[in-house]
């Protein structure tokens, strides 16, 4: 039993790390623009598919990963420029539909570029499983956890220690005030989209060796990332990370101990319960409207 539990935890943290990265992307964009970007999952897919395409074109892995991330960042910037900027201040549903439209559009492009097949990607450092106190994990899982940890720390440092990060954070609290103190809100908005796209792409590149990738691979991850961001209290980057890990572990435990078929139902039931008792997520700000 404890051996099983340990295995479930390892699995849960690996999957949860990805949800955390995707959720982090949601939180950053939400902070900067009040938009929930439903195309976040597509960044994950684009990162993975581009990297796979570059690898098969003969590029070495590190270079392929970097180029794929940069290309995805470019897509994020284009999305911001042509779909988000013209509609600043639009109601929530409008932006939801726009980003859903963007997701479908990007998926459609990926379908034309890479077809419908699943594409494999070689693991970064082999497939030989590592045994760890009764549980086994793939070296790729370590990559996932390690890089996630690194990225989360970097994002935190960026927001807390750098002027640029603080400026971005300022936009999330009060856009007008940020503008007044000389922050270029438009540039900040682009920065947020670029950053989220980059994080998404990296998540995709990390997971592709474990799960393969296809033009549709972003849907599920996007959904889970959104759940992670909501559970953590949307707009709270570290909350999204915690939410992602929580969701991943819960899914693994649910699949292992309760029922694998109802795994997603368990995950979403948990999300609902969290919201019923904490209507702004576990770590969200309590917002009071002014009358």
């Amino acid at each position: 039993m404890p051996e099983q539990l340990f295995q479930f935890l390892v699995t849960g943290i690996t999957v949860g790390s990805l949800y955390a990265l995707v959720g982090l992307g949601f939180a950053i964009i939400y902070n900067a623009s009040d938009v929930v970007n439903f195309a976040q999952g597509e960044f994950v897919m684009l990162g993975a598919m581009t990297a796979i395409a570059l690898l098969s074109a003969g590029l070495p892995l590190p270079l392929a990963a970097i180029v794929a991330t940069l290309l995805t960042v470019l897509v994020g910037l284009l999305l911001e420029r042509f779909a988000i900027e013209p509609t600043v201040g639009a109601p929530v549903v409008t932006t939801i539909i726009i980003t859903i439209g963007a997701a479908i559009f990007l998926r459609g492009i990926a379908l034309l570029l890479w077809g419908k097949d699943f594409h494999p990607m070689p693991a970064f450092s082999g497939d030989r499983p590592i045994h760890l106190g009764g549980a086994t994990l793939l070296p790729q899982s370590l990559w996932v956890m390690g890089v996630t940890l690194l990225l989360v720390v970097l994002v935190r440092l960026f927001f807390n220690r750098t002027l640029l990060g603080k400026a971005l954070l300022a936009c999330s609290f009060n856009r007008a005030a940020a503008q007044l103190v000389g922050i270029n809100v438009r540039v900040m908005l682009r920065l947020a989209y670029g950053l989220s796209a980059g994080l998404g792409a990296l998540a995709g590149i990390l997971i592709a060796p474990i799960t393969f990738s296809s033009y549709e691979a972003g849907i599920m991850l996007g959904l889970k990332g959104f759940s992670a961001a909501i559970v953590g209290g949307i707009g709270n980057p570290m909350g999204a990370v915690a939410g992602g890990l929580l969701l991943g572990v819960l899914e693994a435990l649910g699949a292992g101990f309760i029922s694998s078929g109802y795994k997603d139902a368990i995950a979403f039931l948990f999300v609902l319960m969290v919201l019923f008792f904490e209507p702004t997520g576990l770590f969200g700000h309590k917002v009071a409207d002014r009358v």
Partner: protein, 317 residues
């Protein structure tokens, strides 16, 4: 004015099959556009008028459909009773869910309704002994309205269009009434609504239940018309499509949401010929409409037409 719109619509709908007999685009596409329009009109009451988003509306659609399917195929229950049962089940579940879920706002509400939709979908897929699992249930008998069996395409067209007109009529009545104004007040300002004596929690619950009933009604018709149901018809994509129809047509407009539903259904039929390009075009169109006509097609186009009209008048003057 309101009556004129309604009767024009009714006459148009009635004339179509006479003008184009046995036409696939009228009969088959018309029926599915009609069902979508009923769903959109119901969802619009919740989203457009009361301002509460739901990304899980397909769940209620599915509840109506599956209740009808299960009761008629497993218990040989008469179709009208099955339909009523579907309405009761969806209504009760919506009522139970409304209070906790409608306390949430904005994206949290979107998440919660989405989660609810996913849970119901998982149940449809997993509870195989009841729902037939991923392949669904086959052999649902046609709808029987007190001895009149709805078993031909033309009859289905008639029934569904009648149902759509009923839905539009109810929606128009409701919106322009004490209850409807209370709902719109909730969207306008919850504080002010409460201070004028509106129990906003109750108002939101009512509209949630009503729009669930619209959906369950459409679901039951759908099940009998298709003669089979499967979870595919009630997944997240369908919920998102419904929201898209309402927003595309124009929030807070009954005819707008009906038009949005019809437009999206036709778009889908039209894009099929593009095969692999369909998805890309679909996504691009969605974005374009929302960016350039944020109030939706119905309002956007009618405003555009009015502007043109004025320009023309000015030119001739």
């Amino acid at each position: 004015m309101r009556r004129i719109g309604f009767f024009t619509f009714a006459v148009g709908v009635a004339l179509l099959p006479a003008l184009f007999p046995d036409n696939y685009f009228v009969m088959a596409v018309g029926v599915s556009a009609g069902l979508n329009a009923i769903l959109a009109v119901g969802l619009n009451l919740l989203m457009g008028y009361a301002g509460q988003i739901s990304l899980g509306h397909a769940a209620f659609f599915g509840m109506g459909a599956y209740t009808s399917a299960i009761l008629t195929t497993r218990y040989a229950c008469p179709s009208l009773i099955a339909l009523t049962a579907g309405l009761i089940i969806a209504g009760v579940i919506a009522w139970l869910l409304a209070r906790p879920i409608l306390r949430l706002r904005g994206h949290y509400l979107a998440m919660a309704t989405l989660g609810f939709g996913v849970i119901v979908h998982v149940l449809m897929v997993q509870a195989t002994p009841w729902t037939g699992g991923p392949d669904g249930l086959n052999g649902i008998p046609p709808l029987n309205l007190l001895g009149w069996s709805v078993d031909s395409d033309l009859r289905w067209y008639a029934v569904i269009m009648a149902a759509l007109l009923l839905a539009i009529g109810l929606s128009l009545n409701l919106v322009d009434s004490r209850i409807g104004r209370a709902l719109r007040a909730v969207r306008g300002s919850e504080f002010a609504a409460q201070m004028l004596g509106i129990d906003t929690g109750r108002a939101k619950t009512q509209v949630f239940v009503v729009s669930a009933l619209f959906a369950a009604f459409a679901g039951s018709l759908f099940a009998h018309q298709q003669s089979f149901v499967s979870p595919d018809s009630f997944n997240l994509t369908v919920s998102v499509e419904l929201v898209t129809m309402v927003v595309l047509g124009g929030l807070a407009s009954t005819y707008g949401s009906a038009c949005g539903a019809i437009a999206l259904t036709l778009l889908h039929e039209g894009l099929v010929v593009f095969e692999d390009y369909e998805m890309m075009i679909h996504g691009a169109l969605l974005m374009a409409v929302m960016i350039f006509m944020p109030q939706g097609l119905f309002i956007g186009l009618s405003q555009g037409a009015r502007r043109l009209w004025r320009l023309k008048n000015k030119a001739s003057a």
